[in-house]
Every structure is written in structure tokens, then in C-alpha cells.
Symmetry: D2
Subunit: 146 residues, 4 copies
């Protein structure tokens, strides 16, 4: 199955991300780099909402070790992107998120890809296991066999 | 009256802008530059909604010739900013927008400032008058004597 | 061969990209998204220098259809990144760039990945062949069998 | 004297900042917000070079409380901006930087403005005096009567 075939219902988490004027580049549509910022934002927002990360008092932080995006359709200001997230692999110290970006009224994604976090201790930056409570809080997002 | 004394009710236009993870800088709160991106986004979104600008078929574009911001309080991911806009001066070929950024549950602004657009022809980049229809579409946002 | 094994001498094009203060995120190092912006900048700068693209009078533009990055080491302000580019596949209407980002005094890359441009007509946005002159201008960057 | 009359020789500190592809917005030139990012970068780089700030072990950090920019000319990728900094007011706990952005071969600035840092303790975020050594390290940048 190709990324282009992903649909909204393939993802259990969703958040709306409005475009910003400065997101566009000289070609008049949103620059490819911004899509990755939306991946980053959707994933981190989900982790905050589920209590896996927090800005100040969380001993672990998630460092991005890999990101990938395929671009299928342009996005233009002032569109609002429906960013969807699922977890394709839950490891002991890492998570692989799969993300789809959808535009209003369009069934297939404008872009899709993945993003891998390794969890490390905030101070030592050494890999650290995900807490059992964190794994439980994310369980409904995990998909099998992707 | 200082910018810090501005309140939500001083502005006739409002739009929510969610923070993005990459908005923060190494001090852990949103970087000062991003606030200006929110000004830019709130103003341009308002101009699109009112039909003053559009991405493709509009003969005029608004070029920023001046911006200024005072910062009163930090903003942190994943807060959502309530961006408010009014027009402090409507010239023949320019608009001075006044913008306040408000955080949930806080009466005084996290930041406030202004932003001046000169309208120019999209091709020649020479100043061009605002259409009467545009002025009418913005009339309710204009405040007196600021 | 893994991306981590790439070395400066594996790439024929190089450009220095200084970090900016706002590149860092709340974890104190450069946000993952910015690395992709460096890919984008190094590649586009190379295309401008070789005369393949230009801002105003070029009939073709390059649209990013795929990007991927592996992150090996953090980058911190005010470090200057040595961005290196080569071409892993030269198609009739597309180019696959391979990019490595190197920090001063370090042999292995801080990050590496690829980036695919499809060339389209600026107006119709339909795929368009790369000119023979463009292909010739890029020939020294093409590597075999990656 | 207007900001437009500032010249390179009015500033004692200079750093080159290359444009990035994503700096441009849909109008084809660098977005107004990016200029402020260049202010931020030039000032912070200067503070690092002079030993006033550092990423990790510095007890004080500089928070931006005010920024202002006047825009005189467009900047386009891949231009390199010559960013110049001086200090218009050195307070006990704050610095007002004045910044000019110059393009190759052009005498007058493409943009100019200012930026105010209040220095605060990294942990308590309470205002803290600039060390005498910091003031001495910046003395040559201070101009009188602006």
C-alpha cells in the first residue's frame, strides 16, 4: 500500500493546523519544509495531550532521528490542514509515527510520511525507556503490520 | 495609552493561531520573530476573508514597510494565541494595522504592536490605491485617534 | 553503505550555511525541520549557480515530491553547517539530490538524506523535461549506483 | 536622521547572513518576518562572540522586549545580507541594539530597525544586571545620541 492510499480513518489522532502567510515560498504554495514542521507539531501536540511529554517537568525528551515525507498536492494559504497521526512501531525507547496531511474536501492526503523519535534523558541525552504509563496512553494509536 | 493596556474588546477582528513546536527557541518559549509571523498571518487572513487580497487573481499586493512589536509575556507550546486586529490608519495606498496577541485566561496582551502595508501593483510593484470596495470591506475595523 | 558513512569527498558541491538563533527549539539545539530547510537551500543555491533555475525568468520550477533525512548529531547555534550535494539520479523530468550536512572538525555527517525535485512548467505546473544545457551543467554532480 | 540614511560605517559589528530558499514568501521576495530573524541572529551572534551570552553555561539570557523594523528594499534568494549592529543604549539590565541590513553594491540599507534585550536570570527569569566584563566587551559598539 502506498502512502497516497492512506485515508483519514487510518489514523486515530487528528489536529487542525492553519497555514501561516510566511509558510509559502516564492512558488506561491507552502514550502516543502513546512510540511515537516506540521508533522513535528501534530506529533508533539499529541504527546503533550497524552501526557507523554511536557515542556518543563518531563525527565525524557523525544529526539527526531529520521523523517520522511512524500508530497502529493500543493497547500496554499489560508488553508487549514487536518494532520493525522498513528504509531507504526512502538519500541522500548523509540516511536515511529506515521502522519497524513489532509485538505478540506479531499479524500487522499496532500502529503504523508513518517517521523521517528528516540526518547532520551533530558540532561544526559542518553536513550531512556518509555514509561509503561506512556505506552498505555498511546496504545490506541498503534497500528499493526505497516 | 500604552500597548499593554489594550484589551480584546479594542479589536474587531480575531483569529486563533496555534503554536507550533518549532516556534520555540533555545530558551523554551516562542521566539520573538514568530510573534511577527502571527501579526502577518492574522492581518493577511483578515484581508483574504474580506476580499481585499487573494493569492492568485488580485492585481494588488500588500508590502510590509514597517513592523513593531512590544513583548509582555512569554508564549509556550502548545498554547493557542488569540490574535486581534484593528486598523489604526486607512490611507489611500496604505493601511496601518494594530495587533494584539492574547493568551487564554489573560486579560492583557502577551504582545502588541503594529504593521504597515503599502499596496502595490503585483507586476510593477508601484503603489496603487486601495479600491473603494476594499475600503468599505474594512471600515468596521478602523479606529479613531490612536 | 549507510548514510552515516558518507564523507565530504563523496559530494562535488558544497556551501556553508550559518545557523540562525531561531533555528533552535526548546531542547536547545537546531530543530529537525531546519535541516530540511538547509537541504532545500543547498540544492536550490546549486541550481541557481549552475543556471538550472532562476527566480524570475526561468520557465521551469522544481517541486519537491519527496524528502528524507536521518539525524546523527545535534547542531547548535552559532555553528556553521557545511552542506554538500550530489545527484543520485538524473531523470528526464526529475532529479534526486543526496545531501550531507557536516560540522567543523567532524568527519561523519551530522545528518544526511535526499530530496527529489520534479521539474514543472511555472504556469501550467505540468512536468517538463530538463533542458540538455541543464543536464550538462549538473553532470559533474551525478554519482553512479547509489 | 532617518533609518534610511544609515550607512555601513555607522555600525562597528558586521556579519554576513545568506538567504535561504524558504525565506521567500508568495510574493517572491523574503518575507518581512525573516528580517527580524536576521536582527535576532546578528545580535545574538555578536553577543556570543563577545562572550556576553553562551548556549549552556551562561547564568543570564537576553529576552526581547521590543523590536521594530522599517523595510526599504526587497531581498531575494540567493542574496547574502550584510547585517550590521551597534548599541544605541546600554542600560544596567538592558541593551538597545540598532541593526542595518545591507545588500551587495547598495549604499543605503534594505531595512533597518532596533531590538531591545532585557537580561534576566536563566532560572528565575528576573532582571539581572549586565556584568562589568560584558559591558566592557561591548563598549566599542555603543553610539551616542541616537
Amino acid at each position: 500500500m502506498s502512502l497516497r492510499d492512506l485515508r483519514r480513518e487510518d489514523f486515530a489522532y487528528a489536529v487542525d493546523i492553519p497555514t501561516r502567510w510566511a509558510d509559502s515560498d516564492a512558488y506561491g504554495h507552502v514550502n516543502n519544509v513546512i510540511y515537516l514542521s506540521w508533522f513535528d507539531t501534530a506529533v508533539t501536540r499529541m504527546l503533550y495531550e497524552r501526557g507523554v511529554l511536557s515542556l518543563h517537568d518531563c525527565p525524557a525528551i523525544g529526539l527526531c532521528v529520521e523523517s520522511r515525507c512524500e508530497y502529493f498536492a500543493p497547500v496554499e494559504f489560508p488553508q487549514v490542514v487536518d494532520a493525522r497521526v498513528r504509531i507504526g512501531r512502538m519500541g522500548d525507547k523509540s516511536l515511529r509515527y506515521e502522519v497524513g496531511l489532509f485538505l478540506p474536501g479531499v479524500e487522499s492526503p496532500a502529503a504523508a510520511g513518517h517521523f521517528v523519535h528516540v526518547f532520551v534523558d533530558r540532561r544526559t541525552r542518553q536513550p531512556t525507556p518509555l514509561a509503561a504509563a506512556s505506552k498505555a496512553a498511546l496504545a490506541d494509536l498503534v497500528v499493526a503490520g505497516v
